[in-house]
Symmetry: C2
């Protein structure tokens, strides 16, 4: 399993992904699930992946090949598409193509074992920062004021805190804290999601890769948030009035 | 979908269940999912159900028929089994029987559309209060100090708060508050779980039905907890130190 979240804030886009992949509980590895392309001053594009690792690696490899200068090949490039919408279309088509190919004669199915789901976000010069969720069929939806974040993978445990504490005007510092809490709730409940976590903070209109950080297993801030939250929750719980039995 | 939780406390057992059933989002009804049998001074047994409604209603009907005085039929009775373990065995066998019958020639399968999962708890004179989770195959596991609660149905959204705030020594009042928060997180995230909620507080060694209450849609305490928790979470969130960007 996997857990990735993309948040759309007034200040920009925040991406966080875990790194655990597993084929059964006895075959666990660390793989990067966050990939960033940029052409400083012109665009920055971030992709996060959940699903079959062979599929997502093939998608990223194909996108990388296609990110080479246009004269070297002929395909459209993630670094040249004219808008984030065009980038999303390109990534969606690549994803569908890989799933169809890997599924072979079985035909393409969203519930195929080769399936995957992606979060894509970024900004191209001349446009706003945009955030998309891309489905195995290659189509996609965009984040809006009503649905300002996307989750993929093991999404349920970490959703309640996102719903309660997200605020489009929040600072990057608070957004990282919020995402750490959401990841901590998930990691505490599901063995198949785990540290280290990858983080990318894309600042609106910067048009280049922002702060990128890997949060390691012994990260002191993560540990403090994780243990501090237990106490903070209990304190909040205690402050609520008790139910009165009739 | 459904959400039910059974908690084992030092003071007794706490049961809470929602009442929404749905066949598609355009066919929603209210059905009771909590059933209580008792023989005051001798035993109290509570059952909560998740899964196919035809299956769970058939199970409860069969258990009711079998709860009639032994001379009227011949089957073992939920009110006569010698221990909670025997009650759990009886309920598990009834569940498996109904699933096998309804699945017909398809054979019994845990993932059959006729499947169901149950939480059973109570106390029989001479024994301790006990809490079980019963699977579609008819087998069951018992709650222990390490796993002091069971959830069935849509379990993920409401689990983090249970894990963080449960304490075996907590009062019934606090347990109701905790369960309301767990249900509120679930109801906010999943349309197929909804008020009214049924509540049963079984007091250890009372050997009779305890306080039973239906929490209606406009319950003032529930509303206060639900809105108060949003503020309490935000306050707790704000009190945690902010992430420091390098």
């Amino acid at each position: 399993m996997t857990y990735c979240v993309g948040l759309k804030l007034d200040r920009g886009l925040v991406f966080m992904s875990d790194t655990r992949t597993n084929a059964g509980v006895d075959n666990i590895s660390v793989f990067r699930k966050m990939f960033i392309w940029d052409r400083p001053g012109e665009r920055s594009v971030t992709l996060m992946t959940a699903g079959n690792l062979a599929t997502t690696q093939a998608v990223v490899s194909l996108l990388n090949e296609r990110a080479k200068p246009a004269e070297e090949r002929g395909a459209p490039s993630i670094l040249e598409a004219a808008s984030m919408f065009q980038v999303a279309k390109l990534v969606g088509e690549t994803l569908r193509e890989v799933i169809v190919e890997q599924s072979g004669r079985m035909g393409m199915q969203a519930d195929s074992p080769f399936s995957a789901t992606l979060i894509l976000g970024g900004q191209v010069h001349g446009g706003e920062p945009r955030l998309f969720m891309i489905y195995p069929e290659g189509n996609f939806v965009e984040a809006s004021a009503d649905t300002p974040f996307f989750q993929i993978g093991e999404t349920k445990y970490g959703k309640p805190i996102l719903v309660r504490a997200y605020d489009p005007g929040m600072s990057f510092e608070d957004a990282v804290k919020l995402l750490m809490l959401s990841f901590d709730s998930t990691i505490k409940a599901n063995l198949s999601v785990s540290l280290p976590l990858d983080l990318h903070l894309y600042e609106a209109d910067s048009l280049k890769t922002g702060r990128v950080h890997r949060i390691e297993r012994d990260d002191p801030f993560y540990e403090m948030i994780s243990s501090g939250w237990g106490e903070a929750l209990r304190a909040a719980f205690d402050r609520l009035p008790a139910y009165r039995l009739e």
